[in-house]
């Protein structure tokens, strides 16, 4: 009897230990990034262009702006397709075709981002022999689609049937019922999904290598190669220069903070609002 209880206690403690491992890992990584990044972070880092190796100072302002533009364009591409497809699944979700769409969406969310990047390259870079931020936005949009699609479906589904049927019974058109009644009622959950999808791509680096490509200069035209923060961090990190390593940490700090803010806002602020 005693032995069984001791064994049970040890087993339980082991599971607690394992659960704390993940949390400890996150805290360790975050603390280290914070410590290292803070040392190299200064106003110049977020307002100036990169400088050549050997010169001190410089920043990643073009990468920050470039990433923002690329992600913004990705939202413009992914949001309409994702939301409308989600509506389709929520409204006409029975039968084999919707099941296939759901399956494809779930599987697509597990396809490596580098393969998606190659797809964007084949479609938008190879034919024009020209790297562009737009092709990166397309790759990002492909990565965002499954998240937007499934979260919008769940969001619209969670709106009570009676609300929808009431609007239809009052003579509202299908379009007006969906867009003016159902979607607004599901708004918080839909925006939660959108923010999570933005967080998903903000830190993506792999597909950028052969789509946006990067540039040390200011570039605001999305049909040209454009600087990207994650790409700059990657390049600086694998370089051989101490000063660049410092900049990589500072960039990582910016990136990790952006992604955390998006996640915390989506999960702790918006998501509880959606459930109410």
């Amino acid at each position: 009897m005693r032995a069984r209880h001791i064994r049970s206690f040890i087993g339980t403690a082991l599971t607690a230990f394992c659960a704390s491992l993940g949390a400890v890992a996150l805290l360790l990584i975050f603390a280290y990034v914070l410590l290292q990044g803070f040392r190299a972070l200064n106003p110049a880092f977020v307002t100036q262009l990169p400088v050549p190796v050997g010169e001190s100072g410089g920043g990643v302002a073009n990468g920050i702006v470039g990433s923002a533009i690329t992600v913004a364009l990705a939202i413009v591409i992914a949001m309409p397709i994702g939301l409308l497809s989600g509506l389709f699944l929520a409204l006409f979700g029975r039968g084999w075709f919707p099941s296939v769409v759901r399956f494809l969406s779930d599987v697509l969310s597990g396809i490596p981002s580098i393969a998606i990047g190659l797809f964007a390259y084949i479609l938008f870079v190879a034919p024009f022999r020209h790297f562009s931020a737009l092709s990166a936005s397309f790759a990002f949009a492909m990565l965002m689609l499954p998240v937007i699609l499934r979260t919008s479906e769940d969001a619209v589904r969670s709106v009570p049937r009676e609300i929808r049927e009431g609007a239809l019974a009052l003579g509202m058109s299908e379009y007006a019922t969906t867009m003016r009644i159902v979607v607004p009622a599901a708004r918080s959950a839909i925006i939660t999904g959108l923010l999570l999808s933005i967080a998903r791509v903000t830190g993506e680096t792999a597909p950028l290598i052969f789509t946006a490509f990067g540039t040390p200069f200011w570039e605001l035209n999305p049909s040209n190669p454009m600087a990207q923060l994650p790409l700059q961090i990657f390049t600086y990190a694998i370089s051989a220069y101490q000063s660049w390593h410092q900049q990589a940490w500072a960039g990582a700090l910016l990136l990790i903070c952006a992604v955390f803010v998006l996640n915390v806002f989506a999960r702790l602020v918006l998501s509880p609002m959606a459930k109410r």
Binding site: V101, L118, I238
Partner: protein, 313 residues
């Protein structure tokens, strides 16, 4: 009241808007399916020259030489599989036990914030994992973790040989951290979905909470847990940037886990922009196709298993 003619016009307008709306909905879904199909088709099309040139030889020859246009992906497949295997063994054990704690033992005030923190780990960008792996974990492997393993388990060939810091082992550790949240979150969901009466029956027979979890709940959840681990495997196989930064990038097959290696995704990331020549580009695209097919099968398999236990989909 509207006149009949006016009313007819209004109905017609409503019907037209509805038709346009429905058309937009169907068009969006159609476009989505088309994009996924196009993703596959374009990778096949792009790798066609390499598929024709090398055939199945591509998969089991080990020479990757752009100068002589000889392309064999075996070392890359080896590196991808072994690093992912290390990751799922570590993350599988830790993740499932962590999920058991979160779903069964932890009180709500502890389980919720802890689950949130573990999910935040999934949000850490892979380039940040890579940076941390390169400058913190790799030196630790070289100076302490590696020598310790070598001293205790060095008689095994997998722990023999020089320790560079970067290599399969370090890549496996970083990947384990990256897929831990996936395995934990989904296993937790699966465990929580196990019927209450199973637990109660076991407790009523006098089993302790731990015995119930270990011998009733976890076995009942095994299909879903397996699905969660396979999903983690899918993520590890395709991870690119973090692996590229810590695996050493050398296309060789070595027995030691401390040896540098290379993965499919890392090689694409490193060589694609510099590739010239039709066959070279095509061979790199074939690596991408391989990665796509493998992750499609792995993820599809995992999802189908999870659908049956979670009844979603």
């Amino acid at each position: 009241m509207d006149q009949p003619a006016q009313r007819r016009r209004r109905y017609a307008a409503v019907a037209a808007t509805d038709r346009a709306f429905l058309f937009a909905v169907y068009a969006a879904v159609g476009l989505f399916v088309l994009l996924v199909a196009l993703l596959f088709a374009s990778l096949v099309h792009g790798s066609w020259p390499s598929l024709r040139e090398f055939g199945a030889r591509f998969l089991w020859t080990s020479q990757w030489n752009p100068v002589t246009n000889q392309f064999g992906a075996l070392p890359l497949i080896f590196g991808t599989l072994v690093s992912s295997l290390i990751a799922i063994v570590l993350a599988g054990i830790v993740g499932v036990l962590a999920a058991a704690f979160l779903a069964e033992f932890a009180p709500g005030w502890l389980a919720r914030p802890l689950s949130f923190i573990i999910e935040l780990l999934a949000a850490v960008p892979s380039v940040v994992f890579g940076l941390w792996g390169l400058f913190v974990l790799a030196p630790a492997v070289r100076s302490s973790i590696g020598p310790f393993l070598q001293k205790t388990l060095g008689f095994l060939p997998i722990f023999a040989g020089p320790i560079y810091g970067v290599g399969l082992f370090t890549a496996g550790l970083v990947l384990a951290l990256m897929i831990l949240p996936t395995v934990t979150a989904i296993s937790r969901e699966v465990i929580a979905a196990i019927a209450r009466d199973q637990r109660e029956a076991s407790m009523a027979l006098g089993a302790t909470k731990w015995e119930t979890v270990a011998s009733v709940v976890l076995p009942a959840a095994r299909v879903g847990i397996f699905g969660a681990i396979v999903l983690g495997l899918g993520r590890a196989l395709g991870e690119t940037i973090a692996t590229t930064m810590v695996i050493g990038n050398r296309p060789e097959i070595a027995a030691s886990l401390f040896a540098p290696s290379y993965t499919l995704a890392s090689l694409i990331a490193n060589e694609f922009t510099e590739a010239n020549g039709r066959i070279y580009v095509s061979a790199l695209l074939e690596l991408g196709l391989l990665l796509f097919l493998v992750s499609f099968v792995v993820n599809g398999f995992a999802r189908l298993m999870l659908y049956t236990v979670l009844r979603r989909g």
